[in-house]
């Protein structure tokens, strides 16, 4: 990141997550306050993965010392600015890391290994210069000047890189197929239609290091012989789109994109296509249909996109993370990459850890690391302190992995053996307050809504599955419903047209497999142990705890609570809609839920 030229350099993390946490305000406040300090400069970077600490401010001193502060807001600027500028100690609660205190290490950063995320939260994503300084586009140069397309493909094959979008198909092989098809025109597409609830790896990479993806895409284009590329990115990622556009302009200006890249014979033209918000458009054939301007319905395979894809030309589609790994592999060699990970799953994988986790964020770990390490060592256990219950891997297409399987190593085969899938890397952690039926219902609601409606099993099957789950959650289930769920799930899985339908029942299958007792409780005992399913729970006032503070009375939206100040209150069950507001506002644990 260059020399500081005698300046104190303040760097604010301006990723979407940081901005949402208030980093923009922090940045503006700092900018206003630092005007009068000629010795300090203010720049920005993007996300470094520590979502739980956002907004994050890093300070680099001319002497080489460095400080990372977290959870620091606009209001704290007055408190910390002066000490920071004068290199005096600041309030410890903000400090994540301090180069003067080498023993203070954030456990979140342990066990991580950054390849894809190496520049994330480090460089300014709006400028190509820092990326070039970090060795950006050297891989492209290497490929264009010294490698044939066969060598590139061989290198990818040797690296063992598998598609990071979820299915884990070997990337080198995929490129080989697209290369083998003869055609006057081919397309290379980056799939950045990240839609899993709880997944934000691709967004973070695009926002933090857009050039890396572009470089990977151009190399892919070179390998398969494509001269046209698309980045299909969902319109819900405006910042990523903005930064990609800037990156494309900058790369084009430097002849890294366009005709005769770096004076070679190879030309590559890149366009951004914004998705309109359909989850299914992440499926490659639907994505192709969407770029063509058609409704994003998946198409039959064969023909595979490698043979006949976008506008019937051979097309290769890779996920953001896959492409972001490519420059590193070219630069450092396939052997270096293959040295990470397990026998069948090489390299590193980025996960977005969310849900009821103490330290949520973006982590990149070697393949094969046990899940437990991610959740406990890196993530710090559950946020509530309550017992860990399960982790949903792979979003709505994945499955729930219970506590007892937490030693499963994260690689494609081991994860699949549990019934979940590696997926794109979304990890949603659940604690004891999570109802497993509710989880299945949540994901089914999602897939059912996002089904394109083309094939019968996905369209009708997911709806029927959801109906049964709703019935169970409402306490109206019967034991045969579990058999129906199982039977239907298998059929939907076997007979759906595309990946969405084929994986939609996974949450149900795994939750029944690991938490059958909870389903049975809902059905037989009409009981929800996590007290989530509204039809199975009641709210009541614990008389001996009630102080008569009147807070619940004031907040009840349906006036179901009666009682005067300083007297014990009472909830009318006939009126209560079980919104839980009283439970939330009561400071005396005087509301019973269950």
């Amino acid at each position: 990141m260059g020399k500081n030229n005698g300046h104190i350099r303040f760097v604010v993390g301006l990723g979407s997550c940081g901005i949402a946490a208030g980093a923009k305000d922090l940045y503006e406040e700092l900018a206003a306050k630092m005007k009068s300090h000629p010795a300090a400069t203010l720049t920005h970077t993007s996300c470094n993965g520590m979502c739980f600490k956002e907004p994050i401010l890093e300070v680099f001193y001319p002497d080489g010392n460095h400080l990372m502060l977290g959870n620091i807001h606009k209001k704290d600027v007055d408190k910390v600015l002066e000490p920071l500028l004068t290199q005096k100690p600041v309030d410890e609660k903000f400090v994540i890391e301090n180069s003067l205190q080498p023993d203070k290490v954030e456990s979140f950063r342990l066990k991580q290994h950054k390849i894809v995320l190496e520049n994330c939260g480090v460089i300014d994503p709006d400028d190509i210069a820092p990326y070039l300084e970090k060795g950006g586009y050297t891989a492209l140069k290497k490929v264009l000047t010294s490698m044939t397309f066969e060598q590139v493909i061989e290198e990818m094959k040797a690296s063992g890189l598998r598609g990071r979008g979820g299915a884990g198909f070997p990337t080198g092989m995929k490129w080989q197929f697209a290369r083998n098809t003869q055609s006057e025109k081919k397309y290379m597409i980056c799939n950045a239609d990240e839609g899993d609830p709880g997944a934000f790896m691709d967004r973070a990479v695009l926002e933090s290091d857009p050039h890396r993806v572009i470089e990977g895409l151009i190399i892919g284009g070179y390998a398969i012989g494509a001269h046209y590329g698309y980045i299909y990115v969902r319109a819900e990622y405006p910042l990523a789109i903005k930064r990609l556009k800037i990156a494309i302009t900058q790369a084009t200006e430097r002849n890294l994109l366009g005709d005769n890249i770096l004076k070679s014979d190879f030309s590559f033209h890149l366009k951004i296509k914004e998705g309109a918000g359909a989850f299914v458009c992440g499926e490659e054939t639907a994505l192709i249909a969407s770029i063509e301007g058609e409704r994003g319905n998946p198409r039959l395979r064969p023909p595979f996109p490698a043979v006949s894809g976008l506008w019937k030309h051979p097309t290769n589609i890779n996920n953001v993370e896959t492409l972001a790994s490519v420059p590193w592999i070219i630069n450092n060699g396939s052997a270096a990459y293959a040295s990470y990970g397990t026998a069948k799953s090489k390299g590193t994988k980025v996960f977005s850890v969310a849900g009821k986790i103490a330290k949520g964020g973006l982590v990149e770990v070697d393949m094969g690391i046990p899940l437990r390490d991610i959740i406990y060592t890196i993530g710090g256990g559950t946020s509530s302190g309550k017992p860990f219950k399960a982790v949903q891997l792979g979003g709505p297409s994945g499955g729930c992995i219970p506590e007892r399987l937490l030693d499963t190593p994260v690689d494609y085969e081991s994860i699949a053996a549990t019934g979940a899938i590696m997926g794109s890397g979304g990890m949603v952690v659940m604690d004891a307050d999570t109802c497993i039926v509710d989880v299945a219902k949540f994901f089914l609601t999602f897939t059912q809504k996002e089904s394109c409606g083309k094939c019968t099993f996905c369209r009708v099957g997911t709806t029927r599955l959801l109906e049964i789950l709703e019935r169970i959650a409402a306490g109206k289930g019967v034991m045969e419903d579990l058999d129906k769920l199982a039977d239907l799930s298998v059929k939907v899985k076997d007979l759906s047209l595309c990946g969405l339908g084929k994986t939609a029942p996974n949450p149900i299958i795994t939750t029944i497999k690991y938490f059958r007792d909870e389903y049975e409780e809902h059905i037989k005992d009409k009981k929800c142990r996590a007290a989530v399913c509204k039809d199975l729970i009641d709210f009541a006032v614990v008389e001996k705890e009630c102080t008569g503070c009147h807070a619940c009375f004031k907040n009840c939206p349906v006036k179901a609570i009666s009682g005067t100040a300083k007297a014990v209150h009472h909830i009318d069950q006939k009126i209560c809609i079980k919104c839980g507001m009283c439970y939330e506002v009561c400071k005396f644990n005087a509301i019973f839920k269950g």
């Binding site: 319905n297 198409r299 089904s451 394109c452 083309k454 094939c455 369209r459 009708v460 997911t462 709806t463």
Partner: protein
């Protein structure tokens, strides 16, 4: 193509490589259930019913529609697991279906019903969740009942891929997915009804049927469409109405299509599918009419025929046969037209016979025959589906021959065909062609354009010029002319012309459709000669080994039998089969069969047409069969005046047309549905009609009427059926020689290719065609040029008596360019007056991007708006202004 051997359900079969399992099964009569697969559409893969088990080669459960066959594959269609899965699909689909079969028109031919029955389904496990949404009836022809829809996507695909429109698509996602139009606006499409034809359930319905019968009650008779010259096969669904026990007679209740019969693969246009109601129109003439005291009164057949016979005899005796004129019909069968000309030539002893297509373009027959004998017109229309390049010259395919458009889109979809469209107007043709070259020429520059394309071919060495020179005559002269030719004359960029030239000379078969705009152009003869030069240039360089470029030409014809009426000799210049009437030796065959000697003085071509003769008082009588020249002759005033001068007019037609109203005797003739015979389409394909219902009222087929008159006049016209006529025609006509009437039931007869099996194509001699100068005297008073042309929704007398067609296109509109409309302050729907030196008419305006500035376009197919009264040539100068007040 390689053949692949596989076994499906223990049956060994062989199919071409690349076929999917479903199609392989269909082709070999093996049943696989499926709702979304339709052979003529791209595979969809949505219904999930066609799962099969592959036990050898890529084993596992596969979807038959998606999976290509491979050598040695073994497929099981039914296993217990598959049946279970299939039942499950049906269980899902039926949980939503209203199960309203008792009141559904589709019942009995419904895919959903049949598969439920086959699978012997028990009541499902799910509670029914019907949509109960209202049926969409936003147009007069099609209704969409989404409750019955299984979302197979066939209609969406048909609309997009075959009709090129995409008027409907899926809406919403997941369980809420439905079929609908953009923003739920009323359906605005060409109303081809393809959606109804492919719908496997009762979701899309033909509203014209309107509870007219159950599918199993219908007698289905395939026959040929009576509108344009493509010659689509339509299936007449007939049923006794009221029931037969109550004295009902067979009535046409609807038209369906059959994917496997005829040339149109089940595709039809709005006229073909919905234009049948005229058959039972209350306005039909049911009985002969005779003029007494200036009024047409019903009489018996005997009386009418006696009257005609007497009058004809008297006129022949007093003025000679030549004082009688005859107009044959572009809509009647070949047999009827053949008898008509035979009657005129042998009984009336007149050669003053003609038909309207020949009157409009008198040079056309000669040029078509020239293209036939040189082998340029040897393709059948269906071959268009295999094209590499399609060249529409002066043809508005979408309006005039929509089903050719369907075939073209198939070539574009499956063969990646390219498109070149040359037209003075910006005609619409929706397709996904990768190369879509539009050559919008200025009127009068067509010859220059064709020459420019030829120059580009020669300059670019796009064909084997040595071979061209060796196998043709006079090529150096053409080359010399083109060397000095300045392609700038066309006003189209050299690059575009070069692109067109390249596409036309791409390896493979190109098809050129020469449109009506060319045929009726004042320079039409030159343009077509130039086009024949182009064909010769491309074809002479043909090399079978490299499958180099080859081009075939089709000539656009207006009506269902415009080709046939000329083929069988209802023209002054030719006897049947284009035998030169002035040549005594070519007359001989005909004379021998007919057993008469045609006098030399009768057998001559006359430069004047029948109506000219009438205007000059040379005609005393006129016999018009199935034609309405008052409206359809390009010069309405001439016909009007001519008919005033003729003392005795006989008209035989289905309706009391403007022409029939002028007649002394009107004879009710039967429609296509009520008779047998043959039509010849514009691709020279002779196809057979099948009689579906008995003649309505007292109507008789034209062939019978002619025979009756001939017999009354003492001639032995002993024909029991059209077959007898065709047998005679086969002997008489060199063109139709080899045709066997009975075999036509199974297979059409393509007379040009049959002719070329006997005679080798002649060596072509290039003619040097200089671009002429077109004089259209646009003046200050009449600043616009009036163009006329086809309309998708209407044609001739039949369409205007069809409620369905009138309801979708009730009014004739005048198309005005956007700029002109703005300048005149005319908006869509404003009433404007169009005035020529001759006459004026009042029409509503349609502001359109199709016409250029300075042009207006009126369809000539609305008989109620006789645009021909305005015209005095191909391009009449007119003025238009908004109606005031």
């Amino acid at each position: 193509m390689k053949t692949v051997h596989l076994v499906i359900d223990d049956k060994s079969i062989a199919v071409p490589e690349g076929t999917n399992i479903f199609q392989a099964a269909i082709d070999n009569n093996i049943y696989i259930p499926g709702l979304c697969y339709q052979p003529k559409l791209p595979q969809f893969g949505g219904c999930r019913l066609c799962m099969v088990e592959v036990t050898e080669r890529r084993t596992g459960h596969r979807f038959a529609c998606a999976h290509p066959v491979s050598e040695g594959m073994i497929v099981k269609v039914n296993t217990p697991k598959i049946t279970r899965y299939r039942k499950s699909v049906m269980e899902y689909l039926l949980a939503h279906h209203p199960l309203d079969c008792p009141t559904c028109d589709k019942s009995g031919e419904c895919g959903l019903q049949n598969i439920s029955y086959d699978l012997n389904l028990a009541p499902g496990r799910f509670k029914t969740t019907r949509m109960n949404v209202p049926v969409i009836r936003d147009n007069p022809l099609l209704e969409l009942n989404r409750n019955r829809c299984v979302l197979c996507g066939r209609c969406v695909s048909t609309c997009k891929e075959i009709e090129g429109l995409g008027a409907i698509d899926f809406q919403n996602r997941g369980i809420k997915t439905v079929i609908g139009t953009a923003f739920d606006k009323p359906l605005d499409c060409s109303f081809c009804g393809g959606c109804v034809a492919v719908c496997p359930t009762g979701a899309w319905q033909d509203r014209t049927l309107g509870f007219g019968g159950r599918s199993w009650e219908f007698m289905k008779t395939p026959t040929i469409c009576p509108y344009c010259s493509v010659g689509c096969t339509i299936v007449l669904n007939t049923k006794a109405s009221p029931p037969r026990r109550d004295g009902g007679v067979d009535t046409v209740k609807r038209v369906t299509s059959d994917d496997y019969t005829g040339i149109n693969e089940g595709n039809l246009c709005v006229k073909g599918r919905f234009g049948y109601e005229f058959i039972h129109s209350s306005e039909r003439i049911n009985t002969p009419l005779l003029r007494r005291d200036n009024e047409l009164i019903p009489v018996s057949w005997d009386e009418a025929i006696a009257c005609i016979s007497e009058n004809f005899k008297k006129i022949i005796a007093e003025h000679g046969g030549a004082s009688i004129g005859g107009i044959g019909s572009e809509k009647s069968t070949n047999e009827e037209n053949y008898l008509f000309q035979k009657f005129c030539r042998t009984v009336l002893k007149t050669n003053n016979i003609d038909n309207l297509s020949n009157i409009k373009s008198p040079f056309l027959n000669g040029l078509i025959y020239k293209s036939v004998i040189h082998g340029f017109a040897s393709a059948s229309l269906k071959d268009i589906e295999t094209a590499t390049t399609l060249f529409f010259f002066g043809a508005d395919i979408t309006e005039a021959h929509p089903v050719i458009g369907n075939m073209a889109r198939k070539a574009i979809r499956l063969k990646g065909a390219n498109l070149v469209i040359a037209n003075a107007r910006n005609v619409q043709f929706q397709s996904q062609a990768r190369s879509d070259v539009r050559l919008r020429y200025a009127l009068g520059s067509q010859v220059a354009l064709v020459n420019a394309i030829m120059k580009a071919i020669i300059d670019g060495n796009l064909v084997d010029l040595k071979k061209v020179e060796a196998s043709t005559n006079n090529f150096p002269a053409l080359r010399g002319q083109l060397n000095n030719f300045d392609p700038q004359l066309t006003g189209i960029s050299a690059e575009t012309i070069k692109q067109a030239a390249t596409l036309l000379t791409n390896n493979g078969n190109s098809y050129l459709v020469c449109g009506k705009d060319v045929e009726e152009d004042p320079q039409g003869k030159d343009i077509i000669e130039a086009l024949l030069n182009l064909c010769a240039l491309i074809n002479a360089g043909y090399n079978a080994d490299t499958n180099s470029a080859r081009i075939s030409i089709f000539f656009s014809r207006s009506h269902n039998n415009s080709q046939g009426v000329n083929d069988v000799g209802v023209v002054p210049g030719y006897l049947p089969g284009y035998a030169d009437i002035e040549n005594a030796s070519s007359r001989e065959t005909v004379e021998n069969v007919w057993g008469v000697k045609l006098p030399d003085d009768m057998c001559k071509k006359d430069n004047q047409d029948v109506f000219d003769l009438a205007l000059q008082d040379k005609l005393k009588a006129l016999y018009i069969m199935g034609e309405n020249p008052m409206v359809n002759h390009p010069d309405g005033k001439k016909v009007h005046d001519a008919l005033q001068k003729v003392g005795f007019i006989v008209v035989q037609d289905t309706f009391l047309t403007e022409t029939a109203r002028k007649a002394n005797v009107v004879l009710p003739s039967a429609t296509f549905a009520e008779k047998e015979g043959t039509f010849t389409n514009m691709g020279m394909l002779v196809q057979r009609l099948n009689k579906a219902i008995p003649p309505v009222g007292n109507a008789r087929p034209d062939w019978q009427i002619i025979s009756d008159i001939a017999k009354k006049m003492g001639h032995a016209f002993a024909y029991a059926s059209p077959k007898d006529v065709m047998v005679e025609l086969e002997r008489v006509s060199p063109a139709y020689s080899g045709i066997i009437y009975d075999r036509l039931k199974r297979k059409e007869f393509h007379w040009t290719s049959f002719l070329l099996t006997k005679n080798k194509p002649l060596k072509y001699t290039f003619g040097v065609i200089e671009p002429g100068v077109l004089n259209i005297s646009v003046s200050k008073d009449f600043p616009f040029i009036l163009l006329t042309g086809a309309n998708l929704n209407h044609q001739g007398t039949f369409s205007r008596h069809t409620k369905a067609l009138m309801s979708v296109a009730p009014e004739c509109l005048v198309e005005v360019s956007r700029n002109d409309a703005r300048a005149m302050g005319v908006n869509n729907g404003d009433v404007v007056i169009i005035e020529s030196a001759r006459n004026k008419i009042k029409l509503k305006a349609k502001v359109s991007g199709k016409v250029s500035e300075g042009m207006v376009f009126i369809s000539e197919d609305y008989e109620r708006q006789p645009v021909n009264l305005l015209r005095d040539g191909a391009y009449t100068p007119v003025r238009i202004h908004k109606e005031i007040g």
